[in-house]
Amino acid sequence: MRHKLLFLALLAIWAMSNLAFAGEYNLVIVEKTVNLTGRERKATAINGSVPGPVLRWREGEEVIIHVTNRLSEPTSIHWHGIILPANMDGVPGISFNGIAPGETFTYRFTVKQSGTYWYHSHSGHQEQTGMYAPLIIAPTRPEPYRYDRDYVVMFSDWTDEDPHTVFAKLKKQSGYYNFQKRTVFDFFRDVAEKGWAATIADRLAWGEMRMDPTDIADVTGYTYTYLVNGQPPQANWTALFKPGERVRLRFINGSAMTYLDVRIPGLKMTVVQADGQDIQPVTVDEFRIAVAETYDVIVEPKADHAYTLFAETMDRSGYARGTLAPRRGKSADIPAPRPRPLLTMADMGMDHGAMGHGAAKPGQESGAAYAGHGTGGASAMNHGGTDHDAMIDHGAMVHHDHSRAEVPMDHAAMGHGEPGEKQVMMHGPDHHGPGADMVAMMPKGRLSEPGIGLGNTDRRVLVYTDLRNIRPGYDLRPPEREIELHLTGNMQRFMWSFDGKKYSESEPISLRYGERVRFTFVNDTMMNHPLHLHGMWSELDNGAGAYKPRKHVINVKPAERLSFEVTADALGEWAFHCHLMYHMHAGMFRKVVVAETDTSIVGGGSRTAPMEPPMTSEERYQ
């Protein structure tokens, strides 16, 4: 009896301590000298290391993190993908004032999720100079997969240059880092392969638009060294396994600017988590990880030899490399680099094949009709005398007195109730001003495409339509309204924006607390952009219905049109931006305000769906 009581008392104490468990962490931001390329350079380190220390939290715990700034400039830490109060989000100028030199800021919030995430500076260019680290949150209930070993694989891009210099160079000569442009010799090689007519037509088409099909990455292997957990390729970061074991690899792309194509020759990878959220497992040979995304995969190396973990950059100008090995010091062959891909007319929003030609008006029957237009921006379609409105059938859409970017939901008329693949819409008449050097005349759904340079072999590559959440979403209301934003840029000037307006020229995006809203993005540039909304999940509208993947970063391909849905369940001011660091600094950034009173509808537009009370956090994370 006594023993029983004692046992119960102990159990109670254990339970209470568990409930009240609060992890307390101290992070000190310091300048540190590193040598990753043979030259000593200053890095921004967290607790003296690059990447910073792996933080391991538990779902449900309250975390207290003291961040002390020992730099000579302000700093901040943003908990990437974490659902938390707005004042804990760590974006200077939006969530708080930043952490001044010498000061300590204490973050305190309850962890309401589990999975693989990361944290990084949101100040200046510190993210480029080493201030990033993995964040792993253990779930309260068992995960639906099992594994014997667990490794974090964090990618990043390192430059010996001062990031301010990199940015200035891009502003002065945007093609500065591209050493894979097409030359006179490429021209003659193409003539030999494709003939004069096709080669000249191709050069004229790109020339007409003043665009370069080799412009895939703004910053390349010319200056970058690509790291795995802070180690350059020759250092060969190694993870050990015993043959037959199941190894979980938590991939995090902490790069400032670099998309990576990840594969482990000889092994299939089963993707079990995307952006920290469990998904229905998909087995692939390769996946592209956009900047700031995370993917967890499980591999089962059966042979008693080493496997190369190979992450080639999207522009093929370099790679990050590590090894899975049965014993230390073992390594395997490094795959030969693949040729640099080229952008196509589809990346310019001119995929005539995908266009229902029956719907097109006369005057655009020819793919050679690359006509410029009044503002001087590139546009492929001869749209001079074309009535776009009639083509999108705006007549079927009811216009309220909403601001320009808002369109009431009318799925049938809009044609995107479910994201029909390859669906094509004509671009509207707004060409976004001087900040946009092109518009995608016919943006389309590209979620099932693996992306530039991938998918032309029998290698199975992960695509966004593979992602299905393991559980139905927590908010299955249809969205009440749609906010359409265009991703815009001017390559020559290295200007990046939404709707042709840089952050400094823009108004915040207002959301009403509790509303379900659909964001639709049209990429009017020929680059990929990883979009990151802080504070709320972005549920990608990829045809998975109730099983939409919950993401914190959504990549938008060139000339792509895609949508994601958001439940505005987080009061306050949040950042929303392209996670390519120099694009963000150039202006591809917005503030999103979630408020009880709706300030977004000026002029009294009527609601199209009844309001429901916002869900509590308990409901949301069931």
Binding site: V28, V30, E31, K32, G48, R70, S72, E73, P74, S76, P92, G93, N97, G98, A100, P101, G102, S123, F167, A168, K169, K171, K172, Q173, Y176, F179, Q180, K181, R182, T183, V184, F185, L204, G207, E208, M209, R210, G372, T375, G376, G377, A378, P434, G435, A436, D437, M438, N490, Q492, R493, M495, K502, Y503, S504, H585, A586, G587, F589
Partner: protein
Amino acid sequence: MTKTICRWPPLLVLGANSLVSAAPVARAQDNQIFTYVQGEQLEYRAPSDTFSWDIRGWVGGDYHRLWFKTQGDVPANGPVDRGEVQLRYSRMISPFWDLMLGARYDVEPDPSRAYAVAALHGLTPYFYEVDADFFVSEEGDVSARLEVEYQLLLTQRLILEPSFELNFAVQEVKELGIGPGLSDVELGLRLRYEIEREFAPYIGFVWERRVGRTADLARDMGEEVDSPAFVAGMRFWF
């Protein structure tokens, strides 16, 4: 850890700190001001035995810039033959074009002149870089200049740059030896090697020719009408 900060003189750190904290909290960085200087041509010409320069640059953001331009020739053993300086305000008017307004002052040839300048600068389809300038002198004389350049990549670093420049005048300006209509033509072909993007030695050939009434005026003065030259120089920017 503390060592890192101690490396800096404490006063400097204090100064930097107060500057930083005085600044508004991490506002948008998307309207930063940059400075650009480009030595487009810095070359020796033979057989005329002269040095030529063409240096330009700007200070500003994405939309508004203050441009500075200077070009001219100086014989190896003599005073400046031709030398002009321009200051222009530039405004981006479309994705590929800037409208510029400003002033030009010609130190040489004698008599020196001041001009008002209106110009269009930008990139045409097929990647021709164009500078179209219109000038009105203090005497009311109207002239124009069209410069066009093209970059042909032989390799990633070896670049052939054909260019031409045309000068027009509306009326005769006898004291400067300029006749109405097309007054002179300059064709250039320069081959550079970009050791760095910012630094490229080059060699080339330049052919200048005065035409029409301008050529007649030059002949009357006993000057050359035709001046082909081999050039060797340095192109740089920062």
